[in-house]
Protein backbone atom coordinates (compact mmCIF):
# COMPACT_ATOMS: atom_id res chain seq x y z
CA UNK A 1 0.00 0.00 0.00
CA UNK A 2 1.24 3.45 -0.88
CA UNK A 3 -0.45 6.21 1.03
CA UNK A 4 0.71 9.20 -1.00
CA UNK A 5 -2.18 9.37 -3.44
CA UNK A 6 -4.53 6.78 -2.05
CA UNK A 7 -8.23 7.49 -1.82
CA UNK A 8 -10.40 5.29 0.38
CA UNK A 9 -14.16 4.95 -0.04
CA UNK A 10 -14.62 5.66 3.69
CA UNK A 11 -13.03 8.34 5.92
CA UNK A 12 -9.58 7.29 7.21
CA UNK A 13 -7.92 9.24 10.02
CA UNK A 14 -4.47 10.40 8.90
CA UNK A 15 -5.32 10.59 5.18
CA UNK A 16 -5.69 14.21 4.08
CA UNK A 17 -8.48 16.00 5.92
CA UNK A 18 -10.84 13.01 5.96
CA UNK A 19 -11.12 13.15 9.77
CA UNK A 20 -10.31 16.23 11.86
CA UNK A 21 -8.45 14.64 14.81
CA UNK A 22 -4.86 14.26 15.98
CA UNK A 23 -2.82 11.24 14.94
CA UNK A 24 0.88 10.62 15.57
CA UNK A 25 3.42 7.98 14.67
CA UNK A 26 5.77 9.27 17.39
CA UNK A 27 9.47 8.43 17.22
CA UNK A 28 9.91 4.74 16.46
CA UNK A 29 12.89 3.18 18.26
CA UNK A 30 15.04 0.70 16.35
CA UNK A 31 17.75 -1.00 18.38
CA UNK A 32 20.31 -3.51 17.20
CA UNK A 33 20.54 -6.28 19.79
CA UNK A 34 22.47 -9.47 19.10
CA UNK A 35 20.82 -11.36 16.23
CA UNK A 36 17.73 -9.18 16.05
CA UNK A 37 16.49 -5.64 15.60
CA UNK A 38 14.10 -4.55 18.34
CA UNK A 39 11.36 -2.22 17.18
CA UNK A 40 9.37 -0.16 19.71
CA UNK A 41 6.41 1.97 18.69
CA UNK A 42 3.99 4.19 20.54
CA UNK A 43 1.11 5.14 18.25
CA UNK A 44 -1.24 7.94 19.29
CA UNK A 45 -4.58 9.17 18.05
CA UNK A 46 -7.21 11.47 19.53
CA UNK A 47 -10.45 10.60 17.78
CA UNK A 48 -13.35 9.76 20.11
CA UNK A 49 -15.24 7.41 17.76
CA UNK A 50 -12.08 5.43 17.02
CA UNK A 51 -11.32 5.23 20.74
CA UNK A 52 -14.74 3.65 21.17
CA UNK A 53 -13.96 1.10 18.45
CA UNK A 54 -10.70 0.26 20.24
CA UNK A 55 -12.40 -0.11 23.60
CA UNK A 56 -15.01 -2.47 22.17
CA UNK A 57 -12.33 -4.52 20.43
CA UNK A 58 -13.55 -3.82 16.91
CA UNK A 59 -10.25 -2.47 15.57
CA UNK A 60 -6.60 -3.28 16.20
CA UNK A 61 -3.18 -1.76 15.55
CA UNK A 62 -1.21 -3.21 12.65
CA UNK A 63 2.42 -2.64 11.76
CA UNK A 64 3.57 -4.09 8.46
CA UNK A 65 7.32 -4.50 7.85
CA UNK A 66 8.80 -5.23 4.43
CA UNK A 67 12.29 -5.71 3.02
CA UNK A 68 12.11 -6.16 -0.74
CA UNK A 69 15.73 -7.36 -0.92
CA UNK A 70 14.89 -10.53 0.98
CA UNK A 71 11.19 -10.77 0.05
CA UNK A 72 10.48 -10.25 3.75
CA UNK A 73 6.98 -9.27 4.79
CA UNK A 74 5.63 -9.46 8.32
CA UNK A 75 2.58 -8.00 10.01
CA UNK A 76 2.30 -7.44 13.74
CA UNK A 77 -1.08 -6.80 15.35
CA UNK A 78 -1.78 -5.42 18.80
CA UNK A 79 -4.71 -4.21 20.90
CA UNK A 80 -2.35 -1.79 22.63
CA UNK A 81 -0.85 1.35 21.09
CA UNK A 82 2.56 0.31 22.48
CA UNK A 83 3.93 -2.24 20.06
CA UNK A 84 7.20 -4.11 20.54
CA UNK A 85 8.52 -6.75 18.19
CA UNK A 86 11.77 -8.10 16.81
CA UNK A 87 13.04 -8.87 13.32
CA UNK A 88 15.87 -11.40 12.85
CA UNK A 89 18.89 -9.77 11.20
CA UNK A 90 19.17 -12.80 8.88
CA UNK A 91 15.75 -12.02 7.42
CA UNK A 92 16.40 -8.53 6.08
CA UNK A 93 18.86 -6.58 3.97
CA UNK A 94 19.03 -2.94 2.81
CA UNK A 95 16.00 -0.72 3.30
CA UNK A 96 13.32 -2.01 5.66
CA UNK A 97 10.00 -0.19 5.43
CA UNK A 98 7.20 0.00 7.99
CA UNK A 99 3.62 1.18 7.75
CA UNK A 100 1.46 1.63 10.85
CA UNK A 101 -2.33 1.38 10.72
CA UNK A 102 -5.47 0.75 12.68
CA UNK A 103 -7.64 -1.84 10.93
CA UNK A 104 -11.05 -3.44 11.40
CA UNK A 105 -10.79 -6.75 13.26
CA UNK A 106 -14.00 -7.95 11.66
CA UNK A 107 -16.98 -6.54 9.81
CA UNK A 108 -18.10 -3.14 11.12
CA UNK A 109 -21.53 -2.21 9.82
CA UNK A 110 -22.59 1.40 9.22
CA UNK A 111 -19.32 3.01 10.25
CA UNK A 112 -19.33 6.79 10.38
CA UNK A 113 -17.15 9.28 12.24
CA UNK A 114 -18.45 12.43 13.93
CA UNK A 115 -15.19 14.29 13.09
CA UNK A 116 -15.25 13.31 9.41
CA UNK A 117 -15.07 15.93 6.65
CA UNK A 118 -18.51 17.40 5.78
CA UNK A 119 -18.29 15.58 2.42
CA UNK A 120 -19.09 12.36 4.35
CA UNK A 121 -22.17 13.84 6.09
CA UNK A 122 -25.15 11.53 5.91
CA UNK A 123 -23.11 8.54 4.72
CA UNK A 124 -22.12 5.40 6.59
CA UNK A 125 -19.91 2.55 5.46
CA UNK A 126 -19.77 -1.21 5.93
CA UNK A 127 -16.15 -2.09 6.69
CA UNK A 128 -14.71 -5.55 6.12
CA UNK A 129 -12.00 -7.28 8.11
CA UNK A 130 -8.66 -5.56 7.45
CA UNK A 131 -10.12 -2.30 6.15
CA UNK A 132 -8.02 0.69 7.22
CA UNK A 133 -9.53 2.97 9.86
CA UNK A 134 -6.45 5.10 10.66
CA UNK A 135 -3.03 5.69 9.09
CA UNK A 136 -0.28 6.64 11.56
CA UNK A 137 2.48 6.93 8.99
CA UNK A 138 5.50 5.19 7.51
CA UNK A 139 9.17 4.97 8.49
CA UNK A 140 12.21 3.01 7.40
CA UNK A 141 15.78 2.15 8.27
CA UNK A 142 18.68 0.64 6.39
CA UNK A 143 19.77 -2.76 7.73
CA UNK A 144 23.09 -2.47 5.86
CA UNK A 145 24.07 0.53 7.97
CA UNK A 146 25.86 -0.54 11.13
CA UNK A 147 24.45 2.28 13.25
CA UNK A 148 26.60 1.39 16.22
CA UNK A 149 29.78 1.76 14.12
CA UNK A 150 28.97 4.94 12.24
CA UNK A 151 31.77 6.95 13.82
CA UNK A 152 34.34 4.84 11.98
CA UNK A 153 35.45 6.26 8.63
CA UNK A 154 35.28 2.71 7.28
CA UNK A 155 31.48 2.88 7.53
CA UNK A 156 31.39 5.20 4.52
CA UNK A 157 34.79 5.05 2.82
CA UNK A 158 37.40 2.52 1.70
CA UNK A 159 40.79 2.67 0.02
CA UNK A 160 41.24 0.17 -2.81
CA UNK A 161 43.77 -0.74 -5.49
CA UNK A 162 43.04 -0.04 -9.15
CA UNK A 163 45.46 -1.77 -11.53
CA UNK A 164 44.47 0.41 -14.49
CA UNK A 165 45.20 3.78 -12.88
CA UNK A 166 48.19 6.09 -13.08
CA UNK A 167 46.64 8.75 -10.84
CA UNK A 168 44.42 8.42 -7.79
CA UNK A 169 40.68 8.44 -8.47
CA UNK A 170 37.67 9.00 -6.21
CA UNK A 171 34.58 6.95 -7.10
CA UNK A 172 31.39 8.01 -5.30
CA UNK A 173 29.09 5.76 -7.30
CA UNK A 174 29.76 2.76 -5.05
CA UNK A 175 28.14 1.73 -1.77
CA UNK A 176 31.16 3.25 0.03
CA UNK A 177 33.19 6.22 -1.21
CA UNK A 178 36.14 4.55 -2.93
CA UNK A 179 39.59 6.06 -3.00
CA UNK A 180 41.25 4.17 -5.85
CA UNK A 181 45.04 4.16 -5.67
CA UNK A 182 47.37 3.02 -8.46
CA UNK A 183 49.12 -0.26 -7.56
CA UNK A 184 52.45 1.25 -6.53
CA UNK A 185 50.85 3.81 -4.22
CA UNK A 186 48.43 1.20 -2.85
CA UNK A 187 51.25 -1.20 -1.98
CA UNK A 188 53.09 1.58 -0.14
CA UNK A 189 49.89 2.49 1.67
CA UNK A 190 49.30 -1.14 2.69
CA UNK A 191 52.83 -1.68 3.97
CA UNK A 192 52.97 -2.33 7.72
CA UNK A 193 55.24 0.63 8.39
CA UNK A 194 52.57 2.99 7.07
CA UNK A 195 49.12 1.43 7.44
CA UNK A 196 49.80 -0.05 10.89
CA UNK A 197 51.31 3.14 12.32
CA UNK A 198 48.66 4.86 14.54
CA UNK A 199 50.57 8.16 14.42
CA UNK A 200 49.84 8.44 10.69
CA UNK A 201 46.05 8.12 11.01
CA UNK A 202 45.57 11.88 11.26
CA UNK A 203 47.84 12.37 8.22
CA UNK A 204 45.59 10.09 6.14
CA UNK A 205 42.42 11.68 7.51
CA UNK A 206 43.48 15.21 6.68
CA UNK A 207 44.82 14.36 3.23
CA UNK A 208 43.40 11.38 1.33
CA UNK A 209 40.23 10.90 3.36
CA UNK A 210 39.28 14.57 3.74
CA UNK A 211 39.73 15.24 0.02
CA UNK A 212 37.57 12.29 -0.95
CA UNK A 213 34.94 13.21 1.62
CA UNK A 214 34.75 16.80 0.36
CA UNK A 215 34.22 15.60 -3.21
CA UNK A 216 31.45 13.30 -1.97
CA UNK A 217 29.76 15.95 0.18
CA UNK A 218 29.73 18.53 -2.61
CA UNK A 219 27.90 15.91 -4.71
CA UNK A 220 25.74 14.63 -1.86
CA UNK A 221 22.26 15.47 -3.18
CA UNK A 222 22.75 13.53 -6.45
CA UNK A 223 23.98 10.43 -4.60
CA UNK A 224 21.51 10.18 -1.74
CA UNK A 225 20.58 6.60 -2.60
CA UNK A 226 24.10 5.29 -2.04
CA UNK A 227 24.87 3.61 1.27
CA UNK A 228 27.69 6.08 2.11
CA UNK A 229 25.25 8.98 1.77
CA UNK A 230 22.68 7.23 3.96
CA UNK A 231 25.32 6.66 6.65
CA UNK A 232 26.36 10.32 6.58
CA UNK A 233 22.77 11.55 6.46
CA UNK A 234 21.95 9.47 9.52
CA UNK A 235 24.80 11.10 11.44
CA UNK A 236 23.79 14.59 10.25
CA UNK A 237 20.22 14.03 11.43
CA UNK A 238 21.04 12.38 14.73
CA UNK A 239 24.14 14.05 16.16
CA UNK A 240 23.79 17.32 18.06
CA UNK A 241 27.03 18.71 16.57
CA UNK A 242 25.32 18.93 13.16
CA UNK A 243 22.08 20.48 14.42
CA UNK A 244 22.70 23.91 12.86
CA UNK A 245 24.73 22.75 9.87
CA UNK A 246 22.55 22.08 6.84
CA UNK A 247 24.39 20.20 4.11
CA UNK A 248 22.22 22.02 1.57
CA UNK A 249 24.25 25.17 2.35
CA UNK A 250 27.49 24.56 0.45
CA UNK A 251 29.51 26.84 2.75
CA UNK A 252 28.83 24.43 5.62
CA UNK A 253 30.46 21.49 3.85
CA UNK A 254 34.11 22.05 4.94
CA UNK A 255 32.98 22.25 8.58
CA UNK A 256 30.71 19.19 8.23
CA UNK A 257 33.64 17.23 6.75
CA UNK A 258 35.94 18.30 9.60
CA UNK A 259 33.35 17.30 12.20
CA UNK A 260 32.60 13.95 10.52
CA UNK A 261 36.30 13.09 10.70
CA UNK A 262 36.80 14.39 14.24
CA UNK A 263 38.80 17.54 13.40
CA UNK A 264 41.62 15.91 11.41
CA UNK A 265 43.63 19.15 10.98
CA UNK A 266 43.93 19.57 14.76
CA UNK A 267 44.85 15.91 15.11
CA UNK A 268 47.35 16.24 12.26
CA UNK A 269 49.19 19.10 13.98
CA UNK A 270 49.11 17.32 17.32
CA UNK A 271 50.31 14.15 15.57
CA UNK A 272 53.17 15.95 13.82
CA UNK A 273 54.20 17.42 17.15
CA UNK A 274 54.16 13.92 18.63
CA UNK A 275 56.32 12.61 15.78
CA UNK A 276 58.82 15.47 16.28
CA UNK A 277 58.90 14.88 20.04
CA UNK A 278 59.41 11.12 19.60
CA UNK A 279 62.26 11.84 17.16
CA UNK A 280 63.87 14.27 19.65
CA UNK A 281 63.52 11.72 22.40
CA UNK A 282 65.15 9.08 20.20
CA UNK A 283 68.04 11.42 19.31
CA UNK A 284 68.62 12.25 22.99
Amino acid sequence: MKFNDISFPHPVLGIGDAIDSDIELGSPEINSSGDVYEINLKLKQGNYDIKQLLETGKVEFLCEATSSNTLFRKSITSDSNSIEFTIPKKAIKGRVEFVCLLVAKDTINEYSNSEAHPDYNGYSFDLEKGDVVAFFGEFSFNADVKYEKLKAVSSFMEIVENLDLTYTNIDIKKSKIQVELPSEAYNLFRSDSISQEPKFASVFHSSIVLNALLIALYNFEEHKNYLWAEVIEYRLNNERQFQNLSIKEKENIPEIAQRLLGYPFNRLLEGLNLIVESKNLYEE
Binding site: L71, G130, V132
Partner: protein, 245 residues
Amino acid sequence: MAKQLIFKTKYTEHLKEAVSSGKSLEFYKSKEFVYDKKQVLIMPNIEAFPNLTSSLDIKDDFKTAVQIYEAFKGLEPIQASDERFWTYLAHVDLFLYMIERWPEVYVGKSSNPSKYLLDHWFISSSAQSSLLRHAISGLWWSVYLSVDEAKGENKYGLTKILFRQLDFPTRTLGTYKLGRHKEAVLGILEFIQENEDLFKTKFEDKTRFVTKHLNVVGGVKPIAYYDRQFFKSELEKVSGNISAI
Protein backbone atom coordinates in the same frame (compact mmCIF):
# COMPACT_ATOMS: atom_id res chain seq x y z
CA MET B 1 31.64 -32.47 3.27
CA ALA B 2 33.06 -29.33 1.68
CA LYS B 3 31.58 -25.95 2.40
CA GLN B 4 29.91 -23.86 -0.28
CA LEU B 5 32.01 -21.16 -1.91
CA ILE B 6 30.97 -17.76 -3.22
CA PHE B 7 32.78 -15.13 -5.26
CA LYS B 8 34.24 -12.06 -3.57
CA THR B 9 32.24 -8.87 -4.13
CA LYS B 10 34.86 -7.15 -6.24
CA TYR B 11 35.37 -10.25 -8.38
CA THR B 12 31.61 -10.49 -8.96
CA GLU B 13 31.70 -6.88 -10.16
CA HIS B 14 34.75 -7.63 -12.28
CA LEU B 15 33.00 -10.58 -13.99
CA LYS B 16 29.96 -8.42 -14.67
CA GLU B 17 32.07 -5.62 -16.12
CA ALA B 18 34.00 -8.08 -18.29
CA VAL B 19 30.72 -9.36 -19.77
CA SER B 20 29.34 -5.84 -20.25
CA SER B 21 32.48 -4.78 -22.11
CA GLY B 22 32.50 -8.01 -24.13
CA LYS B 23 36.02 -8.93 -22.92
CA SER B 24 35.03 -12.30 -21.45
CA LEU B 25 32.38 -13.61 -23.88
CA GLU B 26 34.68 -16.40 -25.08
CA PHE B 27 34.76 -17.86 -21.57
CA TYR B 28 31.07 -18.67 -21.91
CA LYS B 29 31.62 -20.76 -25.04
CA SER B 30 33.46 -23.45 -23.17
CA LYS B 31 32.19 -26.31 -21.01
CA GLU B 32 34.11 -25.02 -18.03
CA PHE B 33 34.24 -21.42 -16.93
CA VAL B 34 37.79 -20.31 -16.20
CA TYR B 35 37.96 -18.11 -13.11
CA ASP B 36 40.49 -16.94 -10.54
CA LYS B 37 40.27 -19.53 -7.75
CA LYS B 38 41.71 -17.06 -5.24
CA GLN B 39 38.66 -14.84 -5.60
CA VAL B 40 36.34 -16.93 -3.46
CA LEU B 41 35.04 -16.97 0.10
CA ILE B 42 33.59 -19.83 2.15
CA MET B 43 30.00 -19.90 3.43
CA PRO B 44 30.78 -21.57 6.76
CA ASN B 45 27.29 -22.95 7.50
CA ILE B 46 26.30 -24.13 4.01
CA GLU B 47 27.34 -27.51 2.58
CA ALA B 48 28.44 -27.61 -1.06
CA PHE B 49 26.78 -29.88 -3.64
CA PRO B 50 29.38 -30.08 -6.42
CA ASN B 51 27.46 -32.82 -8.26
CA LEU B 52 24.14 -31.04 -8.17
CA THR B 53 24.18 -30.56 -11.97
CA SER B 54 23.68 -34.28 -12.55
CA SER B 55 20.32 -34.21 -10.76
CA LEU B 56 19.00 -31.18 -12.67
CA ASP B 57 16.85 -31.44 -15.79
CA ILE B 58 17.03 -28.67 -18.38
CA LYS B 59 13.61 -29.73 -19.70
CA ASP B 60 11.89 -29.65 -16.32
CA ASP B 61 12.15 -26.37 -14.40
CA PHE B 62 9.93 -27.66 -11.58
CA LYS B 63 12.15 -30.67 -10.92
CA THR B 64 15.28 -28.54 -11.16
CA ALA B 65 13.86 -25.91 -8.82
CA VAL B 66 13.01 -28.48 -6.16
CA GLN B 67 16.49 -30.07 -6.43
CA ILE B 68 18.18 -26.69 -5.99
CA TYR B 69 15.89 -25.78 -3.10
CA GLU B 70 16.45 -29.13 -1.37
CA ALA B 71 20.22 -28.74 -1.75
CA PHE B 72 20.21 -25.25 -0.26
CA LYS B 73 17.27 -25.54 2.08
CA GLY B 74 19.32 -24.09 4.93
CA LEU B 75 19.88 -20.71 3.28
CA GLU B 76 18.73 -17.75 5.32
CA PRO B 77 16.92 -15.04 3.30
CA ILE B 78 19.92 -12.73 3.65
CA GLN B 79 22.16 -15.44 2.10
CA ALA B 80 19.61 -16.26 -0.59
CA SER B 81 19.63 -12.63 -1.69
CA ASP B 82 23.43 -12.52 -2.00
CA GLU B 83 24.35 -12.05 -5.64
CA ARG B 84 27.87 -13.41 -5.00
CA PHE B 85 26.37 -16.82 -4.15
CA TRP B 86 24.12 -17.12 -7.21
CA THR B 87 26.82 -15.74 -9.52
CA TYR B 88 29.24 -18.37 -8.20
CA LEU B 89 26.75 -21.21 -8.73
CA ALA B 90 25.98 -20.03 -12.26
CA HIS B 91 29.67 -19.80 -13.17
CA VAL B 92 31.14 -22.76 -11.30
CA ASP B 93 29.01 -25.50 -9.69
CA LEU B 94 26.10 -25.25 -12.14
CA PHE B 95 27.92 -23.91 -15.21
CA LEU B 96 27.18 -27.02 -17.28
CA TYR B 97 23.48 -26.79 -16.46
CA MET B 98 23.52 -23.08 -17.33
CA ILE B 99 25.02 -23.48 -20.80
CA GLU B 100 22.54 -26.24 -21.62
CA ARG B 101 19.46 -24.49 -20.21
CA TRP B 102 20.45 -21.06 -21.58
CA PRO B 103 22.61 -22.06 -24.57
CA GLU B 104 22.44 -19.13 -26.97
CA VAL B 105 25.88 -17.69 -26.23
CA TYR B 106 27.45 -21.15 -25.95
CA VAL B 107 26.19 -22.15 -29.41
CA GLY B 108 26.87 -18.67 -30.83
CA LYS B 109 23.25 -17.82 -31.64
CA SER B 110 22.73 -14.82 -29.41
CA SER B 111 22.26 -11.49 -31.16
CA ASN B 112 23.29 -9.64 -27.99
CA PRO B 113 25.52 -12.01 -25.98
CA SER B 114 26.44 -9.48 -23.28
CA LYS B 115 22.79 -8.79 -22.46
CA TYR B 116 21.92 -12.51 -22.60
CA LEU B 117 24.67 -13.36 -20.12
CA LEU B 118 23.89 -10.43 -17.82
CA ASP B 119 20.21 -11.45 -17.82
CA HIS B 120 20.81 -15.09 -16.92
CA TRP B 121 24.20 -15.40 -15.18
CA PHE B 122 24.07 -12.25 -13.04
CA ILE B 123 21.72 -10.47 -10.68
CA SER B 124 21.30 -6.81 -11.57
CA SER B 125 20.36 -5.79 -8.03
CA SER B 126 19.12 -7.50 -4.91
CA ALA B 127 15.59 -6.22 -5.53
CA GLN B 128 12.82 -8.81 -5.58
CA SER B 129 12.35 -8.76 -9.36
CA SER B 130 16.08 -9.42 -10.01
CA LEU B 131 16.19 -12.31 -7.56
CA LEU B 132 13.15 -13.91 -9.19
CA ARG B 133 14.49 -13.47 -12.73
CA HIS B 134 17.94 -14.97 -12.25
CA ALA B 135 18.26 -18.44 -13.81
CA ILE B 136 19.05 -20.18 -10.52
CA SER B 137 18.07 -17.82 -7.74
CA GLY B 138 14.61 -17.47 -9.35
CA LEU B 139 14.09 -21.23 -9.08
CA TRP B 140 15.11 -21.32 -5.40
CA TRP B 141 12.96 -18.33 -4.41
CA SER B 142 9.94 -19.69 -6.31
CA VAL B 143 10.05 -22.89 -4.29
CA TYR B 144 10.69 -20.94 -1.07
CA LEU B 145 7.50 -18.92 -1.66
CA SER B 146 5.29 -21.84 -2.67
CA VAL B 147 6.39 -24.84 -0.59
CA ASP B 148 3.73 -25.77 1.95
CA GLU B 149 5.42 -27.77 4.70
CA ALA B 150 2.04 -28.50 6.32
CA LYS B 151 1.19 -30.77 3.38
CA GLY B 152 3.86 -33.36 4.18
CA GLU B 153 4.85 -35.49 1.17
CA ASN B 154 2.82 -33.29 -1.14
CA LYS B 155 4.51 -30.11 0.06
CA TYR B 156 5.61 -29.20 -3.48
CA GLY B 157 2.11 -29.72 -4.96
CA LEU B 158 1.48 -25.98 -5.25
CA THR B 159 5.04 -25.36 -6.49
CA LYS B 160 4.25 -27.64 -9.44
CA ILE B 161 1.31 -25.41 -10.37
CA LEU B 162 3.53 -22.33 -10.10
CA PHE B 163 5.95 -23.88 -12.62
CA ARG B 164 3.29 -24.76 -15.15
CA GLN B 165 4.51 -21.71 -17.03
CA LEU B 166 7.94 -20.23 -16.15
CA ASP B 167 6.78 -16.63 -16.54
CA PHE B 168 4.32 -17.11 -13.69
CA PRO B 169 6.94 -17.34 -10.90
CA THR B 170 9.71 -15.33 -12.55
CA ARG B 171 7.91 -12.47 -14.27
CA THR B 172 4.28 -12.35 -13.16
CA LEU B 173 3.55 -13.30 -9.56
CA GLY B 174 7.11 -13.19 -8.31
CA THR B 175 7.79 -9.63 -9.34
CA TYR B 176 4.68 -8.14 -7.74
CA LYS B 177 4.74 -7.02 -4.10
CA LEU B 178 2.04 -9.62 -3.62
CA GLY B 179 4.71 -12.26 -4.18
CA ARG B 180 6.40 -11.25 -0.92
CA HIS B 181 3.47 -12.54 1.10
CA LYS B 182 3.61 -16.32 1.17
CA GLU B 183 -0.05 -16.69 2.19
CA ALA B 184 -1.04 -14.72 -0.92
CA VAL B 185 1.04 -17.01 -3.15
CA LEU B 186 -0.38 -20.13 -1.50
CA GLY B 187 -3.94 -18.75 -1.73
CA ILE B 188 -3.62 -18.09 -5.46
CA LEU B 189 -2.09 -21.50 -6.12
CA GLU B 190 -4.72 -23.31 -4.04
CA PHE B 191 -7.45 -21.44 -5.93
CA ILE B 192 -5.97 -22.67 -9.22
CA GLN B 193 -5.65 -26.20 -7.83
CA GLU B 194 -9.28 -26.22 -6.66
CA ASN B 195 -10.55 -24.71 -9.93
CA GLU B 196 -8.55 -26.70 -12.49
CA ASP B 197 -11.27 -26.41 -15.15
CA LEU B 198 -11.13 -22.64 -14.96
CA PHE B 199 -7.42 -22.66 -15.82
CA LYS B 200 -7.36 -25.39 -18.50
CA THR B 201 -7.03 -22.81 -21.26
CA LYS B 202 -5.06 -19.54 -21.52
CA PHE B 203 -3.17 -20.24 -18.28
CA GLU B 204 -0.73 -17.37 -18.81
CA ASP B 205 -3.41 -14.74 -19.50
CA LYS B 206 -5.54 -15.92 -16.62
CA THR B 207 -2.72 -15.97 -14.07
CA ARG B 208 -1.75 -12.46 -15.20
CA PHE B 209 -5.30 -11.31 -14.58
CA VAL B 210 -5.37 -12.98 -11.15
CA THR B 211 -2.10 -11.36 -10.08
CA LYS B 212 -3.09 -7.92 -11.37
CA HIS B 213 -6.50 -8.14 -9.73
CA LEU B 214 -5.09 -9.00 -6.31
CA ASN B 215 -2.48 -6.31 -6.69
CA VAL B 216 -5.28 -3.79 -7.16
CA VAL B 217 -7.03 -5.17 -4.07
CA GLY B 218 -3.71 -4.71 -2.22
CA GLY B 219 -3.76 -1.04 -3.17
CA VAL B 220 -6.32 -0.30 -0.44
CA LYS B 221 -5.96 -3.29 1.88
CA PRO B 222 -2.96 -4.35 4.00
CA ILE B 223 -2.09 -7.59 2.17
CA ALA B 224 0.14 -9.03 4.90
CA TYR B 225 -2.80 -8.95 7.31
CA TYR B 226 -4.69 -11.68 5.46
CA ASP B 227 -4.34 -15.44 5.27
CA ARG B 228 -4.79 -17.54 2.14
CA GLN B 229 -8.56 -17.87 2.57
CA PHE B 230 -8.96 -14.15 1.94
CA PHE B 231 -7.17 -14.39 -1.40
CA LYS B 232 -9.18 -17.43 -2.42
CA SER B 233 -12.46 -15.72 -1.61
CA GLU B 234 -11.37 -12.57 -3.47
CA LEU B 235 -10.68 -14.72 -6.55
CA GLU B 236 -13.96 -16.54 -6.14
CA LYS B 237 -15.67 -13.17 -6.54
CA VAL B 238 -14.08 -12.70 -9.99
CA SER B 239 -14.19 -16.31 -11.22
CA GLY B 240 -16.68 -15.21 -13.92
CA ASN B 241 -14.14 -12.68 -15.24
CA ILE B 242 -11.39 -15.33 -15.21
CA SER B 243 -13.62 -17.74 -17.10
CA ALA B 244 -14.36 -15.11 -19.74
CA ILE B 245 -10.68 -14.66 -20.65
